[in-house]
Amino acid sequence: MSTLRIDREAADGAIVRRPGFGLLRALRQGPLFAGAAAVLVLLVLIAVFAPLIAPYDPDAVDLTATLAGSSSEHLLGADQSGRDILSRVIHGARTGLLGPLLVVGISTFLGIAIGVAAAWRGGWIDAMLSRSMDLIFAFPGMLVAILFVAVFGSGLTAPVIAMSVAYTPYVGRLVRSIAGQEKARPYIESYRVQGWSGWTICVRHLIPNITPTVLAQSAINFGYALMDLAALSYLGFGVQPPDSDWGSMINEGQAALLQDAMLPSFAPGLCIVVAVVAFGIVGEGIADRVAKRER
């Protein structure tokens, strides 16, 4: 209605990206988007059907195959303990995707709840929620995660909780600003004039209308979370050996590098890079489509 409303939020109503990752925007259209989406589907299938696909038990130790190179028996070779790397990488996709999935799921839910509450209620509720998000944003998530692990012990749970908290402001800030813009739209105002409660309007109409933009951010966050969780387990704060996990595999494989065996750390490293890039491209692609549709 009134075009005179001053929109202070317009500036930060954008997707949050990490430095360097903006480059992926250039790839968001055309065959690369389709390719990235295909990679993601493949990853999910691999994770789901890991026990069926993997040629060996990922934890089966075969000392005769220690640091074996690529062969018909072990396509990607074996690690120091003679465990089949391909099988470990395949099984690693499970924790590799499950962790970020939980982080993104929880942080998206919390971010939407907090962002919409802040935008809809405004006033001191907005001030309080926004300051809290700024505070969390200012803390390095990794540090908090390490702290959590120190307190609650390692495994997937502590890092996932810490990362969920750390990623909530990514979503919350975005949601707050786009929900604020959406709230001022005449179609939402007309629901208010019709007599609907704020809760019903938000849940039934406002949130579904902002979901595509939020999903774009969540897809991008998925890549970041995957990277962060892998880094944590690389540092020994996440999933513990002998469970197969890409991050801890890189760590374990480092010693093998000295013995000229690249594959033990290189294979899981490549998986991480491919997954992160694929999620980035898909996220950017979704964001781009949403922006185009809105214009």
Binding site: P186, E189, V193, G195
Partner: protein, 295 residues
């Protein structure tokens, strides 16, 4: 509430009973944004089933007044009463919210923004019925058809999303949606300003018919004096948030006492414009062209 189904055909009988109950009285309404007094002591009365115009140049506070009436902006001071019930304070509960919504509904300026992009036309009207009235599914469906028919929309439009409709059709949906709550007063804030001239005429003609049939009072906000002259009985002229002149539309617009009103009148390019004739001509033209209903 079952009586509501036949409202359009049967209202003339109980008009007298409603009459006591539906007078809109606005007294000394004020609203300031920062230091700027957008609305400054505005008072007027709208008789039941009457038609009052609010005119004035851009930025004089017309929209702000309308938004205060429907509760989208809370007034700094002053009183808004429909049938003696005060409605300037925020609503406290669901019953109050619904009661207020049935007192007053609003049609927004831009039909491209005032409809939820995700909701099909039929559903958009039905929602309002579900919220306000205790009807069976069949009664609701029948009422939706009736309401859409009242604004000249058929089966095809009923199952369309807003994006598949023209501007004029969308504004018809917005009008049907507002009428669904059976308000005593309908506020139309520049309701035809976003439409092109020939469609303006059709919509104005439609509105005049609805007022005749449904006995709903119109508060017609506009800067277009020709439109106001056509559709209102009384008019209030605003300038800088204050009422500078008020009275019967014919008197005010033919013999303005205030120079500001005269100035407004002089700035109108075509005073002799007659939307009813244009609408009639257009209908005649359509009949000749083969009776296709197109906006």
């Amino acid at each position: 509430m079952t009586g509501s189904v036949t409202r359009t055909s049967g209202t003339t009988g109980d008009k007298g009973a409603d009459a006591v109950d539906a007078t809109l009285e606005v007294v000394d309404l004020c609203k300031a944004f920062g230091g700027h007094r957008a609305v400054d002591g505005v008072s007027f009365t709208l008789a039941p089933g009457g038609s009052l115009g609010i005119v004035g140049e851009s930025g004089c506070g017309k929209t702000t007044t309308a938004r205060m009436l429907v509760g989208l902006v809370s007034p700094d001071s002053g009183s808004i009463r429909v049938g003696g019930r005060e409605r300037s304070a925020p609503t406290r509960n669901r019953a109050e919210r619904l009661a207020r919504a049935r007192e007053m509904q609003m049609v927004f300026q831009d039909p491209y923004l005032s409809l939820d992009p995700r909701v099909v036309v039929r559903e958009c009207v039905e929602e309002v019925l579900r919220l306000h009235f205790d009807l069976t599914r069949e009664q609701r469906t029948a009422r939706v058809v009736e309401l859409l028919d009242q604004v000249g929309l058929g089966e095809r439009e009923a199952s369309a999303l807003p994006k598949a409709l023209s501007g004029g059709q969308r504004q018809r949906v917005a009008i049907a949606r507002a009428l669904a709550a059976e308000p005593k007063v309908l506020i139309l804030d520049e309701a035809v300003a976003a439409l092109d001239v020939s469609i303006q005429a059709q919509i104005l003609d439609l509105l005049a018919g609805i007022r005749r049939d449904a006995g709903v009072g119109f508060l017609f906000v506009s800067h277009d004096l020709a439109v106001v002259r056509h559709i209102t009985e009384d008019v209030v002229v605003l300038r800088g948030g204050r009422v500078v002149e008020a009275g019967p539309t014919v008197d005010v617009l033919t013999e303005p006492r205030h120079t500001y009103t005269r100035l407004l009148l002089d700035s109108v390019p075509r005073v002799g414009w007659d939307p009813a004739r244009i609408a009639a001509d257009r209908r005649a033209l359509e009949r000749e062209a083969g009776g296709s209903s197109g906006d």
